[in-house]
Amino acid sequence: MTPKAEKSSDSTVTMTLTRRGFVKIGGALFVSLAIPAGFSAEGIASPTSLGTKQLDPTLLASWLEIRDDNTILARTGRTETGTGMSAYYAQTIAEELNVRPETITLILGDTDKTPDGGYSAGFLSGMTNVRKVSAYTYQALLGLAGTQLGVPVSGLTVTDGIVTGGGKSVTYGQLVQGQHLDLKIPVTGTLAKPAPSEWVGVAGMDGLTVTGDPPMKPVNQFKVIGTSYPVPGIPDKVIGKTQWSCDVTLPGMLHARMVRPATLGSKLVSVGALDKKKFPTSEIVKKGNLVAVVSPNEWEAIGAARSVASGTKWTDWSGLPGSENLTKALRAHKWTAKPELKGKPAAEVTVALTKAAKKVSASYEQPYTRHAPIGPFVAVADVRSDGSVTVWTHSSQSQGLRARLAHMASTPVEKVVVRWLEHSGQYGRTTLGGDGAEADAVILSQLTGKPVRVQWTLQEDIAWSSVSPGWVADMKGGLDANGRLIAVHSAFYSPYMFDPRPLGALLAGMPCNTSEPAGWIATEWPYDKIPNRVEVGYGMANLGAESVSGGLRGNIMRTPGQRQQNFALEGLINEAAVSASADPLQFRINHTTEQRLIDILNATAKAAGWKARPSPHPQARKTGTDPVTGRGVCIMLRSNAYWVGIAEVAVVPETGTVQVTKFTIGADCGKVINPRQLDRCMKSGVVMGLSEALKEEVTFDKSKVTSTNWSRYKILTMEETPEIRVVQISRDDKGFGGGSEAANAVCPPAVTAAFFDATGVHARRIPLTPAYVTALLKG
């Protein structure tokens, strides 16, 4: 029998159902690929046999299998990054198929077991893929059920995977039992492949996109999306059953510890001696400036690496300005690399500024910060003599990493398999398929002929992984006689933040892309009532770019670019409100017609108990040992979501201590998929954002990073976390928006505004450390 799929607008979608006859795998329903759904590293007999496997993305079975026990196996190349995406994928699929989400099992991220690749950070695009596949499948199942029950499709209803019509019913499992459903899934795009001369060195980072326009469930009929479905992986994490990437062990595997250069630019002079009496099973492995010690015993490898490191000699290098001179160095740079411009021509905005009744100008500074996960990078690689490469990782861009490693190892991309497992959060550093320990592991496995596990130390990770670069911004605003902003000119200056090259490849001198800096404007402009606006973004190479390691490799980090640019923009808006003697919240409302923004501003203000008045506070004070208090607001528009942050602070002028006493965060991100997870993500984003506002700074001298442990790179503790109030607005008619990222970014501008409210002094730099604050208030 060959029933046609329900008519969709895409004519390429056809479905055939044939008796399976020759394959009887326990009634499993769609084509089985004979790849085990689970994963046991110990149980992998022959990883190389999977080396050339690539799922055919046009086959339904590559995306979804419905089994005759009414469970569903779904696959996506995206991963869980700790923000609950595995729950949202299950909810999305369940919604379109009318099944319960707990019947769905997900396979995430493995390049040989998932079809589409793409950025894990791009949940909305990944969600669209699985949503469309589910919608196509739903139509096919309805067609089958209609035929089997002898009822027109229009007379069928589906609840929990049971199709009912004409007084009869049939489950999905019964519908497909013993049969083989071929449903062609229309896709466009390509999987990631090496492209060393292109942006970030890899083409096809977006992965595949499912095309066509299958009928999808209207938002107002959602039953699963909009509920707080629990994240599937949490119970195993809590009871100790999760297999993390740091848990992978393979037969014959060696443990490696890296011996890193003395400075970012040092070259190897000589490797220290290895005392074989003390470290009998250890070996030194080296390639170029990449040095490691390997041993079957992890503790021995640690001791041996320390011992070898103490005797290893490196050349001197000093090519960094020192973090205390960062702003000076950025100011001294000649900014010639392709600037990006958004808004009106700069000349027009300059003319408008000259006509302004009142002018406000200010420069803002932000230091280098970093992702700084609790778990340092770790990876396992198994490189075989036939050139096949299997890597176990927690990179959030498996296909991109696969392409990059293939290029580095000079092996065809088809021979590389990347297996994804959960691990510590990445916060953007692996989004571009790089950074990490994977390159080290591949090189060491290639050289030793054995599987190698590379575990970075914390000190190594927060000295050598990629960083979020520092910024300088020059902002100018012009107000008319009524206190309305009529022009804003923004100029942003920063080292490049798209350099995901793996350290191992750079140090070993293996094939790698080059990094070509350019300017970048990341803001989305919420103030449509400001008639003249231009933003110019200037880029430069990494600090220390010419060194063997690539220097301070800039990389994207949670709310990249927009976080830093919004700090300056919202800082200027707050200063303009001060200049206009206006309440800063009302001042924002006065400059936008975006009703969603106005609504979330008002709702968040209400939750925070905001009372309208201009800043600073009438009792603002910049001296004394008693605390002064203040409040501040900021907003962000990002990815179809509107965000508001309201900070309340207490400042002790004499000691320079700044405490955030309460933070209220509001978001309208269209249809809320999972209210509890959104609540969790908003609160945790605030923790990260306050950490940046109050504490975080990567310090470096002229040759190396010096903030190399948690007492030198300080992050927010539980005690420093204030009461956090959350406001959510869910809308059925505005699509889906980004629901996690901007939460960290609405903290620093709100905190610095609250600091001004309390003290009457503008803080135009973060972090607000006691040393900076006391100097600022005394200045």
Partner: protein, 174 residues
């Protein structure tokens, strides 16, 4: 040099042959395949490796395995048994009952990446053993100021942890 040591971990005796100065963490993970505790900083600065030794939190990343000999080591894998013993649950009940701290971590959906959460649950168990009904301020104090260092979470789950500790406290009183 490798030495034979007898360890009591999660109620079971294990004989391991390791260098006595090896940090407990590596023995638990590599020899006993208990992967609940994880390597964070290796400096006792973050808490990801925390385990209980005779009921007290120990940072297993810097604690020599030899110091655990003769003591009771508990990882998150062993928490359900600790609770079952405390409540004298019969085997059937015990098999389906998690420690209330673990149950609260699930009910409150605490973990994001989850990497630090094994240590967080260990800290919660120790806190609740000393203080059956901690206030928010006491929870913050315990997770921040108990030596040797604050328990750090980079995903920023502190608010969820506070909710879960209070939920667990209620469950344990019941």
């Amino acid at each position: 040099m490798a030495t034979e040591l007898t360890l009591s971990v999660n109620g079971a005796k294990h004989v391991v042959s390791v260098a006595p100065e090896t940090p407990l963490l590596f023995v638990l993970r590599n020899e006993l395949k208990l992967t609940g505790p994880r390597l964070g900083c290796g400096l006792a600065q973050c808490g990801a490796c925390a385990v209980l030794v005779d009921g007290m939190e120990v940072r297993s990343c810097i604690s020599p395995v030899s110091e655990a000999v003769g003591k009771r080591v508990t990882t998150i894998e062993g928490l359900p048994a600790v609770w079952a013993e405390e409540k004298s649950l019969n085997p059937a009940e015990a098999a389906k009952t998690l420690h209330p701290v673990q149950q609260a971590w699930i009910d409150e959906q605490v973990p994001q990446c989850g990497y630090c959460q094994s240590g967080m649950m260990i800290a919660a168990v120790q806190l609740l053993a000393k203080n059956a009904n901690p206030t928010v301020a006491e929870i913050k104090d315990a997770f921040t100021n108990t030596p040797p260092s604050p328990h750090l979470c980079r995903c920023g789950t502190y608010a969820a942890i506070i909710d879960a500790v209070q939920r667990a406290a209620q469950a344990m009183k019941a």
